[in-house]
Amino acid sequence: MQRVGVFVCWCGSNIAGTVDVEAVSEALKSEPGVVFSTNYQYMCSQAGQDMIKDAVKEHNLTGIVVCSCSPRMHEATFRKTAAAAGLNPYMVEIANIREQCSWVHKDVLTGTEKAIILGKAAVAKVNLNTPLIPGESPVTKRALVIGGGIAGIQTALDIADAGFEVDIVEKKPTIGGKMAQLDKTFPTLDCAACILTPKMVDVAQNEKIRIFSYSEVTEVQGFVGNFDVTIKKNARYVKEEICTGCGACVEKCPMKKIPNEFNLGMDNRSAIYIPFAQAVPKVATIDPNACNMLKNGKCGVCSKVCAAGAIDYTQKDEYINEKYGAIVVATGFNPISMDKFDEFAYNQSKDVITSLEFERLTNAAGPSAGKLVRPSDGKHPHTIVFVQCVGSRCESCAEKGKEYCSKICCMYTAKHAMLTRDKYPDTEVYVFYIDVRTPGKNFDEFYRRAVEEYGVKYVKGMVGKVTPEGDKLKVQASDLIANKQLHIDADLVVLAAAIEPDKSARPLATMLTASMDTNDFFTEAHPKLRPVESPTAGVFLSGACQGPKDIPETVSQAGAAASKVIGLLAKDKLTGNPCVANSNELMCNGCSSCANVCPYGAISYEDKEFRMPDRTTKVRRVAVVNPAVCQGCGACTVACPSGAMDLKGFANSQIMAEVDAICK
């Protein structure tokens, strides 16, 4: 029989406000095995912990029940306390009488009754606890960063700087991401390329960093410290290590009418291409859907002009297996499609563009060499209307758009409006806004400058309809302050499209068993206190894959993710979780039900000899759990038809004892 001590925490008034803690500790005194029961204001405080340690010694306790907050908060604390008092840390049970008890109940009677029941369940369980010893696993000292935008670049650089090897997997032919497509950056207006390309070069030159461009992750196995990852290197039909990036092939390629995705289709590229001048790696890539040689074997011009002999039409996709200790997701964002918002006539006029297209139109390396012109006729626009919140802040039943605020649009629109007025003072610039949201250092000042110094006309209201007519865009909008409907003949309309996570994020999350929210943003382990970690151990989050954010925020988060990775890779061994599955081979019939449901591939089978009652032997197939791979999810224990599979620390008998205690 255990000797159990019960410690009921007040949590100030968090628990004591709606739970009579005295009554709880009193009621639990008479539970089986309980030899000591008390309550205290803050069990997690040093004094509270000392109280536990003293009680262990004084009453020879073998098990501890702490009635307090969620085990997610302080289970680790009390396990350490128990260990310090000489107990096995897994002899501690937490009864959560705060989150789903004192916080949700309004009257003391109900709260107290529930707290007592929860306490009884924990006592029933601890009576069946056995000491558990965690195993250890080694750490592969290399990190994988998925996505090569500014988030991935910064994370990789910071990890490499600490001396660890990092691989970046980028699905595009070059790293750089969205930031490489931007013109200037708010609120200081530095040129995006001027501050990004040095970092791209750093990545290229860093001996610790390998770039897998034009590649994607196709399979992830293993667990924290020991991930086993398959990377698919798509055939680019150019030998990366030989290509010098001279561009002769690009110039001579006869297929020149392929929409250029780097300029969002606003101009064309050739079938063999280098996305932009500062691409890293500066290597050509053949678009297999556009190349005549690859489609029907006719052409071969690029091969003829390549002095280095880098063209290889026979190149195949290549699969690479690599081990990693940590994985950082940095898959970024995209503007949403404007298809469902054609009241703004995006699909009906070339002169209705998105803000990202506007970036390309004003970028010196863009389709108009940085001259702001109308895509339809190349003329200089005199009246420009910016529409904010297109697809952001939409109620879910509106069936289009996103519920969240995309966060970056207010600032980049202010930037666009300001730069337009600065460079082309003869233009009239309107910005239609619902709210101007500028919570960032020097952000509101920036927006006010656009209004006060540059004369941008901010109108509180929304655009309702854009009608292309002749060479004008008739904009019908509301001015809520003037209580008027406005009609503006515009030359260019710019839509601040909502942003959404990259489409590759959802399948990647499945591979990583990392959780996502309903918008496909990766979920953080704790929204405030663990913002760069996924709840899945060893998986970290960097940049807009976790939520909309601007460059300064992305870079901060990228650094934070890197520091978490470094902290992990700096360890030689990781202490495992001893609460893993365990198969009773005498009861196992080898049916494979458990292996079929195991998400971690932790269960294998072996043939084992058993002595039968009649002294003969029989070979049977039985399940074996690899404790280093098992994450203790318990799926196998419910799948097992013969009751052979059990989870240490959460045995069927323990769970049933809890249920019995609750139902008594």
């Binding site: 469902k340 918002f341 009241e343 699909n347 009906q348 069936e399 854009v466 009608t467 292309p468 007519e469």
Partner: protein, 263 residues
Amino acid sequence: MKVSYFPGCTLKNKAKDLDMYAYKSAEVLGVTLEEIENWQCCGGVFTTANDEVATKLSSIRALKYAGDKEQPLVTVCSACHNVIKQTNHAMQTNSAFADKVNRYMAADGSYKGETEVYHYLEMLRDLVGFDVIKEKVVNTLKGKKIAAYYGCLLLRPNKVMRMDDPENPTIMEDLIKSLGADAVVYAKRNECCGGYISLESPDAAKKNSIAIIENAKVNGAQMIITACPLCKYNLEKCGADIPVVYFTELLAEALGVKEDTNA
């Protein structure tokens, strides 16, 4: 193929063309329109209020009639279609409303919104197929620049109507193309013509209609087609200098049954 057909009040009077050419064209396309017996006027506009029952009963009788014959219900007037489809949607999604209606209609048996409602255009697209229509064209309209005018009733509220993209629809353009003509796309094709406001404030309706016609003309339209008698009235009343015709008339012309009917 046989379908139940709800013509509506205007189609038996001021909009006889819309009705007549619908019949003729359907016949060529192998569809028999079986007019609902003793149909009653849909009311012209759907009353959105949750507590209105009586104004919706005529639609429900038509729906139930088609349902009892296990036929889809086809309408050709935009207004009838809008009212009947919204009423059917209310029957499917608002159980309190459906209960009330069924108590009113107790003598006729209960109805839960089972009947499928098609606009004639949807029938052409989904039940006949524009490719089939293309094959049956005898008088190609090649070279004609025709603008489709949808107005509001065909498309909105999109959650209920589900006919097409409410902001950039293509169903009528696809029909125009299948008849051999060029479809003129213009943004105001889903803006309101002024509707029933022309009774009290003809000038207000005129302003809307002129803007629509202007937008179509600037984009090259030589003719406008519509499915709604009130749209046709408003567009014509504002002084349109290009013809505004019912889409069924255009269809009949291309299928070679227009002269037929005139004769």
